[in-house]
């Protein structure tokens, strides 16, 4: 398993500003993922972050809006840029490791973002 922490745990931001969310893992992992979970909804994958390469974004998400850094095998950041109230959501990072036979994802506690 992996232990994941996120900072901040929550924040309230003004429209038009940006917020950077940090994700720290207690072990080295190849693949990290960023998800968004809107109130009462399931998780939606934003992007996959592989160390040493550009992040791969899912349909509907672009790098200008959600730039991601992955400087090493234990850390990643997601920035939510030029925020609007529609960006209010929980943002989660996860890592994928081999757990026995199949790949398994372990999730951080999430960052609850409210945009006014």
């Amino acid at each position: 398993s992996a232990v994941i922490s996120q900072k901040p745990s929550r924040d309230i931001c003004q429209r038009g500003t940006s917020l950077t969310i940090q994700c720290q893992v207690d072990s080295q992992v190849t693949m990290m993922f960023w998800y968004r979970q809107q109130p009462g909804q399931s998780l939606t994958l934003i992007a996959t972050a592989n160390q040493g390469s550009e992040a791969t974004y899912e349909s509907g998400f672009v790098i200008d809006k959600f730039p991601i850094s992955r400087p090493n095998l234990t850390f990643s950041t997601l920035t939510v840029s030029n925020m609007s109230p529609e960006d209010s959501s929980i943002y989660l990072c996860s890592v994928q490791t081999l757990a026995g036979e199949g790949d398994t994802q372990y999730f951080g506690p999430g960052t609850r973002l409210t945009v006014l």
């Binding site: 939606t44 994958l45 199949g102 994802q105 999730f107 999430g110 609850r112």
Partner: protein, 112 residues
């Protein structure tokens, strides 16, 4: 990526066994079936994973028929603390890193 279908919600009384079934008709040969549990204001938590037949751990059992087109998560003797959303996912074959897609999940409400 295989799509999954689960009931949106289920209610159960404390002490009962709860079975949540997930359909995944397009599961690939190398796909595993993984279940996650999510409490409000927390990230999903891994519960159990299997490929075929039956898997049991200290928390739950996972039943997978021979055709693997469905799976059933069994929670024995649920308590109020088992109230959560349960997600069934398929994908993530061993040795290959694959993204997985979260479906709608099943919201389980345990009633005293």
């Amino acid at each position: 990526l295989a799509k999954t279908t689960q009931p949106i919600s289920m209610d159960s009384y404390e002490g009962q066994e709860v079975n949540i079934t997930c359909s995944h008709n397009n599961i690939a040969t190398n796909d595993y079936i993984t279940w996650y549990q999510q409490f409000p204001s927390q990230g999903p938590r891994f519960i159990i994973q299997g490929y075929k037949t039956k898997v049991t751990n200290e928390v739950a059992s996972l039943f997978i028929p021979a055709d693997r087109k469905s799976s059933t998560l069994s929670l024995p003797r649920v308590s109020l603390s088992d109230t959560a959303v349960y997600y069934c996912l398929v994908g993530g074959s061993s040795g290959g890193y694959q993204k997985v897609t979260f479906g709608t999940g099943t919201k389980l409400q345990v009633i005293p």
